[in-house]
Amino acid sequence: MSTTTSLAPDGATLPVFYETEEHAHADGASTMLGFWIYLMSDCLIFAVLFATYGVLGGNYAAGPSPKDLFDLPLVAVNTSMLLLSSITYGFAMLAMEKGRIRSLQIWLAVTGLFGLAFIGIELSEFSHMIAEGATPQRSAFLSSFFTLVGTHGLHVSCGLVWLATLMIQVSRKGLIPANRRRLMCLSMFWHFLDIIWIGVFTFVYLMGMLR
């Protein structure tokens, strides 16, 4: 890549070397790093939303406060759904490593069901809150709450669509390198969302009950 013209100690010009062709990169060799950097940018989005919640989370505008709204046992159930889906995705990856397509598909399906349960519980929580008049328009606290938790839920929903797509891809084309790569990217995405949820249940729900 680089062209160097340097002088030897005696003043003679050394030969110049060019690299006319880049050395070959395997197909998708940089995908994992690229996807990791995408996840880090996603992490910054969540950091900004957490900061917004941190700033606005105490402004109830004489409306409901976390203590009036949050149901901790329900959040605990929700958290366990996401934790279980994380380990079942791990088992799916182990099945992929061993080339067992059938067990991979079963674990992916189980992961998808846990993810659906998570989204279902979250939506029912949201609908209860909205039915009680705790809509995003009610106060700054509720606006930032729905934005933060809703963005996480949206990510999980996208992950579910991705998961379903990959199950179809694997059943049609088998464990080709591209499908393995996609499954590994989704693995990172899924575990990353679990990490974000740790922040959500700690800062939003548990700290909210302590306010």
């Binding site: 395997a26 998708g28 994992m32 910054l44 900004v48 957490f50 182990l94 575990h191 700690t202 548990l206």
Partner: protein
Amino acid sequence: MTADAAPHESGHHGHGESHGSQKSYLIGFVLSVVLTAVPFWLVMTGTLDSKLGTALAIMVLAAVQIVVHMIYFLHMNVRSEGGWTMMALIFTLVMVVITLSGSIWVMYHLNINMMPGHDMSQMP
């Protein structure tokens, strides 16, 4: 977790992360269940009398759980992708810390100064 300890892993298309084993996933799962159950228990039963103490405890537990997830589920280590994933992570963490602490600190002081009843005419 460290199946391929080879320092040069270009023959392995670049990424040095392994996929863990059944055992490492189970260890990670058990640790994260404990690290989730304890903060919920602390808040729901109010075992620690002080709110500040409980808040600090659950924050520490959350930080530990994040590290556990990174090691056992995301298989983070300093060697994957020649260290670039770790570099990206460290850079992101710096940005996250600046964003969070900066916004909360600035807005906290703004809120204090905007408190109703804070009489600006008394200011020098």
